[in-house]
């Protein structure tokens, strides 16, 4: 247990001795406050094509759904946890200090989980600020009450934290930084979208990371449409907690795969 504590402390110290936490916070504010703030200040009704205004439920929900793009940032940051060690050839030094490689991965998951939570909190709070900056500028009342806005942004924040862990797991499996980035972006931008529209395959979409994310964040309209078309009722599409647990399961599964296979390989 003492060795695990040391490993966690070491990974936290490692994080704080680089500029990664600073850039993570900058990214959270940029994706949360700047993105929602810019759209809110411009006014969604002025977009092309026009979207519902911020004084409607659909308008506020629409702007908050932009936070979906903010989820890839922690996933990409998470991939650096292990791939950075291989890229900069520091992994041998780390494994000499902590020879039990599974312990290194657990320590990184905990350290980066903390960073992911920080990202999520800053993302959520700055998005709230962005929305209210827009409504104040236009002199209107937000279409959603404060609790609902905070709840929605908090769910995106939680999803962001889990995406950080997912990134750590994907990076540990891939070990190569470009490969890990390629897998992350390729899967979420290409594979899931493809699977979502393929007849027959799309019935499993609610159970994939994208579907679980939609359930967690509350953007379930698409899932419900797919589930209805497939003639199935998807529990994932209706329960945010199930979505969160499913996403966590993917993060832990990729990490377990890495600990069992890729991290056991010889270090050059």
């Amino acid at each position: 247990m003492r060795q695990l504590k040391d490993a966690i402390r070491g990974e936290v110290v490692r994080l704080t001795r680089t500029r990664l936490p600073l850039w993570t916070l900058v990214a959270a504010v940029a994706c949360g406050g700047l993105l929602t703030g810019l759209v809110a200040l411009t006014g969604p009704e002025n977009a092309t094509p026009p979207m519902p205004g911020l004084d409607t439920v659909a308008g506020v929900s629409g702007v908050l759904s932009l936070l979906g793009v903010a989820l890839f940032v922690p996933a990409l940051i998470g991939t650096v946890a292990i791939t950075g060690e291989y890229r900069h050839r520091t992994v041998a030094t780390t494994f000499l200090a902590v020879p039990k490689r599974g312990r290194v991965l657990v320590a990184k998951l905990i350290a980066y989980g903390g960073l992911g939570l920080t990202y999520g909190v800053v993302l959520a709070l700055s998005a709230v600020v962005g929305i209210y900056a827009g409504t104040s500028a236009h002199g209107i009342e937000a279409g959603l009450d404060p609790e609902a806005i905070l709840g929605t942004t908090a769910r995106y924040g939680g999803a962001a934290a889990i995406y950080m862990l997912l990134g750590v797991g994907i990076g540990a499996v891939a070990r190569h930084q470009l490969l890990a980035i390629g897998i992350t972006l390729g899967y979420f931008y290409f594979m899931e979208n493809l699977m979502m529209i393929l007849p027959g395959v799309n019935v499993v979409y609610p159970f994939l990371p994208g579907g679980a994310t939609a359930a967690l964040t509350g953007s379930t309209a698409l899932l419900e449409m797919i589930a209805a078309e497939a003639g199935v009722s998807s529990p994932v599409a209706q329960a945010p907690l199930v979505g969160a647990l499913l996403l966590l399961g993917y993060a832990l599964a990729t990490s377990a795969l890495a600990a069992a296979v890729s991290l056991r390989r010889d270090v050059a």
């Binding site: 990974e11 490692r14 001795r17 050839r89 030094t93 000499l96 200090a97 902590v98 020879p99 010889d266």
Partner: protein, 255 residues
Amino acid sequence: MSAAAAAGVAAERVLSGPTLRAEGLVKSFGPVPALTRVDLVARPGRVTGFIGPNGAGKSTTLRILTGLARADRGTATIDGVPYVGLSSPSRVLGVVGDLAGAHPGMTARGHLQTQAALIGVAGERVEEVLEETGLSSVSRRRVRGFSTGMRQRLALATALLGRPSGLILDEPTNGLDPSGTVWLRRLLRSFADAGGTVLVSSHVLTELQQVIDDLVLVEAGRTLWSGSLSDFTGEHASLEGAYLSMIEKEMACDS
């Protein structure tokens, strides 16, 4: 850095070095055999040189000894225990294996603070090893700006963090200037004289001859010779002469 002060790093305390032992190591990378049979012992109170031509299997053997690679067959132990089975490995064995062991964006101090935390060593030890390795004045510089010699010193500082009683060094004089080489020689000698175990691999045989007590020679993945330096050199004037003579004989036998 004062070489005399640095040389006193280990001499100030009595060490109880571990016995490093590899028996019957066999290792292949795909179809390419890297080790066909390597046997090696490094004992406390002795500096053991580990020599051989390029590609003979020295680095692979050291990686197996330190748990970074797995042998297909054979055992590699530190006082009878595999490296990965040691409860506090960095307090038993310091390893200098790769110049690029620190993140280029980190400062030397940041790197050592990270390593100290990973092995559960107090932060004050970081200042001590910075002083011992002569890196105090550059401790706030980022590693990407370090020369090869400074990186080598940082690797040594990392190895010394846990106050180990054994040292494994793979080509430690790479990039070191003459004063650094003398400093390292004194450090290894005083470390062994204090009871520590030192296993050092190097191609610089003239340098190695000045510090080692014992020798293990590997060629084409197998141990050709092991024993004391004096037995190896025999009637030859130098380690280099004895080494070249044995390698030439071996190549003549192979052809």
